[in-house]
Symmetry: C2
Subunit: 371 residues, 2 copies
């Protein structure tokens, strides 16, 4: 049985400027992400999924906190934090960028926005990158200001997202390419709008930096969206596992290198850049991979959920990895999962034994992401 306990509310689990609307739309469950509330279900995981894939949803993703780095050393500090080469980064681009520590372990996997030559936003996953950045800056005596600005991202996701956004921000929205942003006006207030979002259904993220406008903006999107069957949504557990979107803290941690997470293409050791963990990642590259992120498929639904790591064994009973996330997928014909598996067992089609809350079950290894 999956226990669904109550979440105790406190100021420490921060609300957002949109919280009233999220509650009014009937959010059934929440998680905590960057010390902030994030809804996880409105109608049901399955209904939310279906609606997202066919319509348009408005997501309160305020918990994607920004770490703002400004000042003469802003570019150097931002580069110091990621193994991805940012030397050719331009205004208007979004960079998915693994942040690594001195051991080459993942610290976070933000999207980095270059707002100006001396101004960056790191739109972060669930860890206090602010402290990491401030520690590095203080330790090195860098000439930067590092802080969490009052920015509260709102995502508009789904196939009808562009139609809705065009009515709110104007036709210019259509010109924004994938992983690019523009600064557009809403009520005479300029804000960053990017074609991005934590789904594979297309859409935008609005980086609202004026919380006084929050409910107004939500309501405007909602009103316009009615013609497109808009509803409130949130990052969806089914959609993201099907789509191969990794979740920091679930599928990867500081125990993992970007290589293990399938993010090797963002490790630009060939570039002449300085970043923390470079030496460790050079060693990791030379040693080769011992384990990596894979998928595992089951041939039926499983009436459970992955609330903690599930051990994966080979047919001989040896521990060969673990499952970190999973869901029932109608599209895939059964339960699907994300797993970190040892080398000898990561080939597609390998049969493995998984210790689930329902007992030991047979699964089949699949490529990550699913084709």
């Amino acid at each position: 049985m999956v226990v669904t306990p109550t979440l105790s509310r406190s100021r420490r689990l921060r609300q957002t400027p949109y919280s009233d609307r999220v509650e009014a739309c009937g959010a059934k469950a929440y998680t905590v992400y960057n010390h902030m509330l994030l809804a996880t279900v409105f109608r049901s995981l399955e209904e939310d999924y279906q609606h997202l894939c066919e319509n348009v949803q408005i997501w309160d993703v305020s918990c994607e906190r920004q770490v703002e780095i400004t000042g003469p050393d802003a570019a150097a500090l931002t580069q110091l934090m990621t193994c991805r080469d940012l030397s050719k980064a331009k205004y208007g681009q979004c960079f998915y960028a693994p942040l690594v520590d001195e051991n080459g372990g993942m610290v976070n996997d933000p999207i980095i926005l270059k707002l100006a030559e001396d101004r960056y936003w790191l739109s972060i996953a669930d860890s206090d990158v602010l402290l990491w950045a401030k520690g590095l800056a203080s330790g090195r005596g860098m000439d930067v200001k590092v802080f969490e600005p009052d920015v509260f991202p709102l995502a508009v996701q789904g196939p009808m997202a562009e139609e809705v956004m065009a009515k709110v921000f104007g036709e210019k929205v259509r010109d924004i390419k994938f992983f690019r942003f523009a600064e557009l006006f809403y009520q005479n207030h300029r804000m960053v709008v990017a074609r991005s979002g934590w789904s594979r259904q297309g859409g935008f993220e609005i980086y609202l930096d004026n919380s006084a406008l929050a409910l107004d903006l939500w309501d405007r999107i909602w009103d316009v969206g009615k013609d497109y069957n808009i509803f409130a949504g949130c990052p969806n557990g089914i959609e993201r596992v099907e789509g191969g979107l990794l979740s920091y803290g679930n599928d990867m941690s500081s125990e993992n290198t970007p290589y293990e997470c399938g993010l090797g293409k963002y490790v630009n050791l060939e570039a002449d850049i300085e970043f923390v963990g470079r030496k460790a990642l050079e060693i990791a590259r030379d040693q080769g991979l011992g384990r990596k992120i894979c998928n595992i498929r089951f041939d039926k639904r499983l009436e459970t959920s992955v609330s903690k790591s599930w051990d994966v064994l080979n047919v001989g009973g040896d521990h060969i990895g673990n499952i970190s996330s999973g869901c029932n997928s109608k599209k895939m014909g059964g339960f699907i999962a994300i797993a970190m598996l040892d080398q000898e067992f990561w080939d597609e089609g390998t049969i493995v034994l998984v210790q689930t809350p329902l007992g030991d079950l047979t699964g089949t290894v699949a490529n990550f992401p699913f084709d």
Copy 2:
């Protein structure tokens, strides 16, 4: 109405080695603390409170994660992180220590344990101190290892705690003074045991560093405790507000200096020590305090809870501060709260207007902590 939503479970919200027992004892609600589950209520806040004050409780406080700092520069790095003078720190002492950033803002308020000349544990509140410490160490090129060890604190709290602990760890436990620790044996395994804990009812914290022993240790304490009416518990919202225990993220944040939090005695500017934020705190000291932590009392129960900041106004309607935590207290004859108030209004007895979810209500300022 206070909404009590469901908490979505995922691996990212880490379970602990004691989670099975916590669930079995009927934990009704949880919070998330350092990316880990922390129970908040078992029977009811009031029943848990009464039981804690009269008996003994066992608390899974694994979420008090340790940041371990070892190596030749361990003492220097640990000192660099706190304004409290650690130069005379000795093995066996626990130090409540504000950590501050370059602006003198609170980063965390851990208890620091000096385990050896070159080995410290920071037993932290809810922020990723690990990243702060690693950033500073990396930035300065310090010769240290900084990591989160597999330590899972278990607290035994309440007036009968010493009796139970003596039966589990032997009579030596009685010799441990307040905020001191000793290394004692359980099943031939040496572990740190401190007389400390997040209540004012007395008790101990066991820093279990072998999760394989977790359930065994829990069960042993439980069995011994039966004679003393033991039950599962957790940091209690009533007891801690009555007792004046501040909660990082609720009552204080990086927006606050230690002075504002009433922690001035831990700001040892008179000592010849180097720490981040020293200059900022010198300026803060010289400028004097503009606001500080106070209590506010209401003369009746309030059927609500503080799930977000409540604004506090003076009788003229000007904003003068905010309430960050609160609870109904039978002992104090009504609802009591912790607030940050501007200087002109922090005197005991000042009448203030508080914007609560139940409407505007009159409260009376009281000293922090309550006498």
